[in-house]
Symmetry: C5
Subunit: 352 residues, 5 copies
């Protein structure tokens, strides 16, 4: 949510590759999937040099780079495919917001993908970059994850549309997969909001407030991530880049609808969270009210009685009541009378 | 309001039909209405195979599918009419937001229809899809309901414009019917808001707050449902799709006016509900104020008097007042005096 | 403010005339004013049949229909002038929002006119419809009122521009009159806001809150009524409809300026009312503060003193102070000392 | 801020001149300044008839009308220069919002000028109208003031660009002067806001709230006055009116920048005032907290002790402690112990 | 944040140079850097006259003017390069907002640069102006600072793209450097916000509120400074000015992305600060609640007991309990019983 390690980059000349994400130990893992309508070849744990060798075998190639912390690997791949230095800079800059750039020979997309699977309440967002060339797709992914395996599986099985169509359809399938992750995250946030809603009606402690704000921040963060998808996909829908063929547009339109729905759901969640804050605040006020009411009832009942007791505890020599035989029962009678009158009055005031 | 069962769909290839609504037991019911200016034929509880047989009899056909939970039925109908797989996917996706898609040979509309008739305070919104072809209309409705019976009745009677005009006029009549449902729901919500307004001036309990928020959520949800109608109808008004003839435009414009009015009413309701929240909050504050005032008045009256009583309850040997004969009456005199001075002061402060 | 009796209309076929306003007893009153640069003929309490007979006498005709609750009268007039059924439906639908429709042969305007003259704080808004033909104007007015008499007077006197120009100038004069009513209403609301502002600095009771909200609702309602005038007049200013001649545009521009000013004033009023709410809320808080301060001062002064008195009211056998001769005066000295120290401390805390 | 005396104008036919500002006694004062690159002629306290006589002497003429309450003078001047009746109506309507109208032969501008010089905290805004003809400028000013004297001085000195250029440059100089007044007013409001900010951290009385709101209203009012300048100058920058030559555009762009800066400063001031309101509100809450804390500490300290004293003030015959010799010192020991334990507990709670 | 010393400028004729920033003692320092692909010449502490002499040596020239408080220096340089008087006026007007003006022969940019390096929490923003000519760049900087030294170093080293490209690339490098400063400042503000967030959960004193508002003002100020960059760079991206060659556009697009990201981060910070305010406010409310709870518990426990003690402290002659032998132990038993019942009740109410 905050800009971090930005200072690393201040004052560097453009095109200098600096990885600003969290430090990671694992090596970068490259896998290559070569396919066309006839079949597919696959290579796991490829070296950078394999990428180009492999390229000639089939019509279409998908290079999946898992891990972007090793800038030298990114640099080599970039040179192999003739990518602009600024593209490489954006690939390794995990702070970069989603965007699309049209470099004529290829489209460059920066995307943000939330991790749907993690069960605790931390939101992790993956930096994913996509280079869509004429007959290849490069997919750079910040952290390891097997989100895109189902897409690979669809290619391997070779039954669906995916093998028959070009890389633009593959790009659609990948973006669709990324957008689908938002649904998963929103579903779990939705459940949490419902839970918060119920809790907020009963409990009023500071921790709940913390959870509400935490949830709000996650929603805000998702919003910031999904919002630029709209203009991104709008731009692709205009169909001006040669990488996007016309038959894919109807599918992109479908993603567009999903993005709009996600954005609307996020707005709804914001409103709901604002409502929960209201309930929470009012709950605190109501509790205060209740406490004050108890204090006031007790004080109002006993303070006058205590005064009365005080009066007859005085040591004046000449107090006729002190010597009356019925004084004490009368005193209790008065106490009980006052007590009941007070209760009636509280009832009338609707305090009881 | 929340995205539900979205996880069912994550990672599936596009065009896979998954029903995400509530599970339902009843069978899907299909009814067919064939008509032209001369007359009409009708078939209730038709099978999917009947649809095409029936088609040749009259110029225009309206197929009404009640229930979308059986994806195989939807699939068959889709194939019979040559609908795009993405259209079928959207028909069974009850989460889908309202939209219009122009597939050249037909227009595809996703609509949301609130149930006006139900009297309790739950808002049910029906997922309704409309496929407007050249000479047929397919209407898919999530739940059974007889909202569209009045339209059928108008065709059966054969007196109005509806039989003479084409399917575009029928589409208008159906959309008009859907938009009319919003009026009904808004009318009942309006009554509820008025009730809440009156209650909020008197009562301040947590349950009222719950009702206010509940009402707000329903209004928000309606807003989300009606908002996309505007662009939908705007698009139809542009008159670019061959399914929409020019003579229908003036009627569509009428719906457009209604949609705008519904949207404005919803905004007004939001403002009114915000005002009721204000009143509720201030009511709580005022009650607190009143309670504090009572406590303060009682305490301020009696605490000094109790002190005085305490003083003359001391056991010092040498306290001259104790032995005076008039001490006790004087004490009471002082008490009454202080009491009245206090009352005057409270009056002056406008606390009484 | 609420949608009322909307349910009357649900499911009816378009063009069915249903009056949804309040029931009224008086008959519909039609008056006809025929005029051109030479002179004028006038007919009060005309029958529907008179309208067409009268039409041929002079170049221009203004038909003023007072009361729209008798749908049969509206229907007859509509047929006489060849109005579209949807136009007639909107004339009798008092819920309809302001709009302009261009039916080529005539312009149809729905307008909302507040009653400036009524002195109590209820806002009544009149549903006024205007049909601007080539050489006639039909004016439909929901309730009786003599707002338009001054325009009639100007025609009768025959001195101004109004007789020389066409019906478009007459239309301008009528709309100008309607817009002028807003000024009157806003002036009286402005005075009320000033009054509320002054009151809010002094009084904090629930009734004031009610008045603030009431005023806010009226402002909101006016806003909803005036807002569509902008696009309405913008559309007329484009000068595309043959009913509007060019020489009228400068006058319409003048109305446009007025509408903008009214809209701005309404925004200012909203801000002012929000400010008054703030003052009101803070007033409540301040009052609470003051009450608490009094309670705290009294309690803090007397509770320790009461404790002291309590101590010397104990019955221990061996309490040396009890037998000292100066104990009692010393006790009072201590009381007075503590009292003054407390007062000094309160002064220091700025509580006094 | 409020619409005033609007009722004077309701129902009048357009072009009727009604002065709606405050009544004024002084006569209208007209001064004429005739100039070109060679030199200048000047006439103070001119009569209306002098205006036209004077016109022929030099190429350019600036007529400055001080006071618009005498509608007959405005009417005569209007006729002399052939101004449209609606222009004259707007000149004397001091309620009119800023605008620009292009009447082909002249440009008509309504402007609002705040008085920078007045030191008390009332905001006075002057209604200033400008008619820019081919070779003349008419300047109508509601109240007397010598703001424009520096411009006159620049013409009299005859050194700057002003004498060499046309009336469009003069118009620029006058508008620039008006915009400059906003800077002065904003500077003094800025100082007031800083003062309010500092005060708000210390004092919390109702009067401060009044001052904050007063300041807010003035800022709002300025905003309403400056906002229309943007579109006004944008329109002039389009360079479509023959009165505005191209060499002036760069100067108008400069004014445009100033207007944007003023608008931005006003937005900043609104935010700052909202912040001050927050601080004020929190200050009230904090003070309440502190008061409650004192009350609670005192009560919590003494109430248990008073109970103890009460116990040993009871008159039971058989209370062994009463006869012990060490009871009284033990009592005091307990009191002091409890006292200190309480203090430690308060410290722990961070109340002290 | 406030408009300052604006009054200095009111009423001056346009093009008059007035420095409105803080008074400074140091002399203006001019340094010249002449370079092309072959090499570079450099002159530190140059006089104004050196600028033109130096110009012929190499193809490109960068004149860096450190300090703008000496208007005569600015004036001379302006004349040497033929700058418009309004440009010079804006260079010395440190209040001026960021903007771009296209004077055909050169582009003029006003920019705002925050000082990233200063460690205390004051935000200093530098007024920086850039004149981009065909083969020269003039850089005017309000305060001394060595931010641009890294760019100079890159030219001196002569390895990167910067020497081979034209002044447009240099302009890009300078603007990029300025934008980078925002990242630094935002990073440190981000850290502060995190700190505030943590503190706000624990502490609730007025000083924290002050810090929150202070932080908010800085964020607002940055927002005001960065916002105009967007349209500025958009305008440069349109590529209409001859100073900007096409190969630079991709780099400018990169800056544009950064600016958008900065703007988004600022919006996020605003939201976070609003959230912290909420937490702070709720913390105050919660503390109040806790204090009230303690007061209520203590009062509610002891007030009834004190009354009981008061009763048996009365001096009635006939009070049978006084003479019972078990009265006193029974009294204590009752006290303890009531005490425990109360505690149970408080537990039930969840107050303990």
């Amino acid at each position: 949510m905050f800009i971090r390690k930005a200072s690393k980059k201040i004052g560097l000349s453009p095109g200098t590759l600096v990885y600003v994400g969290e430090t990671q130990d694992q090596p970068v893992r490259i896998s290559i999937l070569n396919y066309d309508a006839e079949g597919h070849d696959e290579m796991m744990n490829a070296a950078v040099s394999d990428v180009l060798d492999f390229a000639s075998k089939k019509a279409l190639m998908w290079v999946h780079v898992n891990g972007i912390h090793d800038v030298s690997v990114i640099d080599e791949i970039g040179k192999a495919f003739g990518l602009h230095p600024l593209v490489l800079e954006d690939i390794v800059n995990t702070n970069h917001r989603p965007k699309i750039d049209d470099y004529e020979e290829y489209l460059f997309l920066v995307l943000k993908m939330p991790h749907a699977e993690n069960t605790d309440q931390r939101l992790e967002i993956d930096h994913v970059c996509l280079v869509i060339g004429h007959d290849y797709i490069l997919l750079f992914q910040e952290s390891r994850g097997n989100v895109f395996n189902t897409v690979k599986e669809r290619i391997r099985k070779g039954k669906g549309r995916i093998q028959k169509y070009g890389v633009d359809y593959l790009a659609y399938a990948l973006i669709d997969m990324i957008v689908d992750q938002y649904y998963g995250v929103l579903e779990s946030i939705g459940e949490e909001i419902e839970q918060l809603h119920e809790t907020s009606l009963e409990v009023q402690d500071q921790r709940l407030l913390g959870r509400i704000h935490d949830c709000k921040h996650r929603v805000m963060y998702l919003r910031k991530s999904i919002w630029p998808f709209r203009e991104m996909i709008s731009m692709m829908l205009k169909g001006e880049s040669p990488q996007i063929k016309e038959y894919v547009l109807v599918y992109l339109q479908d993603i567009y609808d999903h993005v709009i729905q996600i954005a609307e759901t996020i707005e709804t969640y914001r409103d709901l969270l604002a409502g929960i804050m209201d309930v929470y605040m009012t709950g605190i006020n109501n509790k205060m009210n209740e406490i004050m009411k108890v204090l006031t009832i007790i004080s109002t009942l006993f303070i006058p009685l205590t005064f009365m007791a005080g009066v007859y505890g005085m040591n004046f020599k000449y107090m006729p009541e002190l010597n009356w035989q019925l004084s004490y029962p009368l005193f209790w009678g008065a106490v009980i009378l006052i007590f009941f009158l007070m209760l009636v009055w509280f009832k009338h005031k609707k305090w009881l």
